[in-house]
Symmetry: C2
Subunit: 337 residues, 2 copies
């Protein structure tokens, strides 16, 4: 079984984006009901995520709203709450229509400067009422201006308490960038991954929350490439070794779009801490002329990784899911219809 822990509903029907446009234009008087049929949802997935699952032989995708559209920086907290609810409801419908193909991951109604505890009701609704198994947590709801306290600050603790209670991990995922310095998928996403890891490295967060789980997407940003630097920085700071300090709580996905990158990831990060992912349909959509295959067909890189033991491959493709996403593991154990 191959589980992709990182997929976004980038292909959602146009009505969703039109709804958002209306909401942003006049949030106070906006009351339009989002009107999308089941067939429209099916159509939006059929030629995209579902087709790709079939072509690449992957089974289940952890499916969340489009990351670039979370836009926590747009409007106030009420706007963020209403938008998150619509996006999450649509994810729920997609997952209900295709329960064998998708498990639901929610967007949180974060808003710059608003204590993250405000996300708890929507998180509980998604998890307890709708069966969601994970969430995306934005370390920078300002959209590229990085004004929030680090993820290790007590600012975030009430939300972490709830995550632990619900047995839900958070993928650290920023949204679009309003800062002209940062291209969103080429710089902001990758920088956020690197930034979050370094925040974790310098803190005792996981002493306070030994059961809290984070997935750092995009192969961990720059972290595996600079693994020696991070080991050395931790050592200079008299921190415990990274394995002991972080690797019970921090996991990396495999959204790295070429063989040498995946080979490095597999070499330096223990297989126990790697989760398969492709982020399709996502940031890179073309075919690599060097391989003749899609850049984001990350399964091929894992399959072709030299010397990767079968047991490790199994952990990466599905075996690690249980310890990071216990709710997904329970879904998978549920008898079929």
């Amino acid at each position: 079984m191959i589980i992709d822990c990182h997929g976004h509903y980038t292909t959602a029907p146009q009505s969703l984006w039109d709804w958002r446009k209306g909401q942003v234009a006049d949030p106070k008087n906006f009351s339009k009901k989002l009107n999308i049929s089941d067939q429209e949802i099916r159509d939006s997935l059929e030629g995209a995520q579902l087709k790709i699952q079939r072509e690449r032989g992957t089974d289940l995708t952890f499916f969340s709203p489009r990351a670039g559209s979370m836009e926590h920086h747009v409007g106030d907290v009420k706007v963020s709450e209403a938008w998150s609810r619509e996006c999450n409801d649509l994810i729920h419908r997609a997952c209900t229509l295709h329960p064998a193909n998708f498990a639901a991951v929610c967007q949180l109604p974060q808003s710059p400067g608003v204590p993250p505890a405000n996300c708890i009701p929507e998180l509980e609704r998604c998890v307890n009422e709708l069966g969601f198994i994970g969430c995306n947590l934005n370390p920078d709801p300002s959209g590229g201006w990085w004004k929030e306290p680090p993820l290790t600050d007590r600012w975030w603790y009430p939300l972490y308490e709830k995550l632990v209670e619900l047995e839900v991990p958070a993928m650290v995922h920023v949204s679009s960038s309003c800062n002209p310095a940062f291209h969103f998928t080429g710089a902001h996403y990758i920088n956020a991954d690197t930034t979050a890891f370094m925040q974790f490295l310098t803190s005792d967060l996981f002493k306070d929350f030994p059961a809290l789980k984070f997935v750092i997407p995009h192969g961990g940003g720059a972290v595996p490439y600079h693994w020696g630097r991070y080991r050395g920085l931790a050592q200079d700071m008299k921190r415990p070794p990274l394995k002991e300090l972080l690797l019970n709580n921090v996991y990396f996905d495999t959204c790295v779009y070429h063989q040498p990158g995946i080979d490095l990831l597999l070499k330096v990060i223990p297989a126990d801490n790697i989760l398969f992912a492709a982020e399709v349909v996502g940031a890179v959509r073309g075919i690599d002329p060097e391989t003749g295959r899609y850049y984001d067909d990350t399964r091929q890189y894992i399959e072709n990784a030299p010397g990767l033991p079968d047991a490790d491959k199994k952990k990466i493709f599905s075996g690690n899911v249980g310890k990071v996403y216990p709710r997904a593991a329970r879904l998978l154990r549920r008898p079929g219809p």
Copy 2:
């Protein structure tokens, strides 16, 4: 011959930091003369950079002021100008005392929101009067708030015109971070490298300045690890292949502190675009328990890289310097005393 293109005077005598403290405390009335003897300079280098050169068998270091202390965000442009001048003069003295060991690279008197053209007089002084061969350019003089236009904006063009005229490359190097989200050597440095590369990728800067040369330090941030992502993003944007788009102008150093990282760098980036560097005495000072050698002894990783042809090794250690740092190449051709 082994040339290290990235060294900072992190071990400068305490008087320099005391001078800075005085300057920052009361910039208007501060008029103290910096008083450091030649012997103090020699002593500050002897047990550090010079010892390391001897131990590791490297020959020449391109030597610049401590990056974390450039602090372009502290005080106004006058403060930055006075501080840069002191730092650069000290670098000049260190290089004059040890002309076989160091070639000088200057700090620029940048200041947030101040057009970079203000740096031209200090750049000209350093290059034309003092024989400097390169400079460090900070893409974020705000110190972690990223308020400056991207490096590809016309904002920077007057400085680029001067760099081209003087045949001086710029290393893209941020200073310390005031933003609590970004640890300076663990996140801000690496993010800046990634950010700058993506800025270059999305622009036509090098059509306007075909002779402009940038060195991206710290192994290019996250870029080589995500080389497939960057190739794919460029392709989706209908940009030319990266080699054609950037690799006549953008170079990567080897400050990556473990063997798998260097192996990846050497695999994906052409040897023509890699410059040897260690950044000593720098961000990581310990000994790697996995190898028993210093993390930042990057020469070992190049020497041990499997299958690296001797010709490529020569390019990386010294051969590429001529095309990036023509003034250094001329220094090296100068007959000795």
